[in-house]
Homo-oligomer: 244 residues x 2
DNA sequence: CGTTCTGTTGATCGAACTCAACTAGTGTGG
DNA sequence: CCACACTAGTTGAGTTCGATCAACAGAACG
């Protein structure tokens, strides 16, 4: 059984009390479905909600004035989507669905209740958010200082690693769920060049491709080529367990 | 009097109680000075502390295996430096000083005390951290989808805006405090090309330069050229003030 | 007073972009 | 049921932006 709820994710790092567990279950009191291509919210929308992805896959991106798109992150089940709502009344990014998806929703008052009734849980949620920040930092380094080949490789590795963490049985050969244009918008490349880089990785026997599926053949070399770091490994929330 | 403490920064967005104010004053119980060029902590160091910059200027960066450096953010007085300590026992970035600096320090147990005794304050700290995340997102978009000229312009604007927020009297003509190599490491460019872009911006009468000082001549055009967004404008923590 | 650091400029190179053409799959509506 | 449109992927040719290499000037510094 794949673990794809936020509670399970948290549970990997801190031992949750029964009360915390039920609080999490009651947290996202509403649900919303989004079709592939649909938007959950748009940049600059007035947004007062937080979302947790339950099923499917989302992405967040911004559109620049020249019309080009930069994908900021991919959002997988168990991820909290819109923590920027903590500081902004309007969305700083557009969230849209890469696959048919379902999100759980809750508002700021629900967040305030968690803070009041389960401060340790609140702290754990904020702490885990640092993981996405670390991933965002990695993306900055990737865009600023690595080659197109490395950037494409790192997207492949990121998706695979995060999927496998949700489901240890996630296969070595898998459908990315991204078009080459989407990979390009995440890596700051054109779709055409993404295509060439995929071909190159294939020619180098680092990956194989067949019918829309990718296989990571030589993972060790791929990790080196991509300068990839898995940011979930290394998480340590043990300080939250000490008596407060 | 420039406002450069974290308490003042928070105070711009939420009304702090007397108790919260004193808690903040007592928070960073230790101080540490770092000379220009010195490191506060290195990537992968075991770090259990949080830092708040009191005076000076820091940067955070990572070094890739090929030796190239990517600067992730510039840290100005009042910024909390190392919130990744919330989730990681080891530093994910190197922090070093761009100018002679002084930081206040506190550890995880102090953070836990804030959470216990002043949960609203804790929430405000976490919320404000979303601003740096938004800035990091902007940097991703900048690196992925804008020209060298735009990226250099956006560094100029960012430094100026953040300095002016600390000190409304911050002059239009100012010393950046960054070498061209540092600008390059922040923007994913070489020092040589940064130089050319500065010259181009100068030729276009968007900026002027004299003796290490920069003047932003045509700010409106510069903002457009850089696709720049000031992420402090738009912050809304009002939901924290409602009765919890 | 050499040495190192930072900035500047020119010449050349190469990685990634642009434009264009073509294929294959997938609807979809007449 | 098929013609047509539309999307995603693929490949080639030519272009461009930014990198690399190199040389030099001025400032800072021990």
């Amino acid at each position: 059984m794949p673990s794809n709820s936020f509670a399970d994710r948290l549970g990997e790092h801190v031992v949750l009390t029964e009360g915390e567990r039920t609080a999490l279950q009651l947290l996202d009191d509403r649900e919303r479905a989004v079709r592939r291509g649909g938007a959950l919210c748009r940049e600059n929308d007035a947004v007062a909600d937080f979302f947790i992805l339950k099923r499917g896959m989302l992405m967040s991106f911004v559109i620049l004035n020249d019309g080009s798109r930069q994908i900021l992150r991919f959002i997988l089940p168990g991820d909290i989507v819109s923590l920027s709502t903590l500081a902004y009344a309007r969305a700083t990014e557009t969230i849209s669905a890469l696959a048919d998806s379902v999100v759980g929703m809750f508002d700021r008052s629900a967040m305030a209740r968690v803070l009041r009734d389960h401060p340790r849980l609140y702290a754990a949620m904020m702490a885990l958010d640092q993981v996405t920040r670390a991933a965002l930092s990695d993306r900055v380094a990737s865009l600023g200082r690595t080659s197109a080949r490395a950037r494409v490789a790192s997207v492949l590795l990121e998706i695979r690693d995060r999927m496998r963490r949700l489901d240890p049985a996630f296969p070595t050969s898998f459908a990315l769920g991204l078009t080459q244009e989407e990979i390009g918008d995440a890596t700051g490349l054109t779709a055409v060049h993404v295509n060439r880089m995929l071909r190159q990785l294939e020619d180098e026997r680092l990956i194989a491709r067949a019918g829309g599926c990718v296989t990571l053949i030589d993972e060790a070399r791929l990790v080196r080529a991509a300068h990839y770091v898995d940011r979930m490994t290394g998480v340590d929330l043990s300080w939250l367990s000490s008596p407060s």
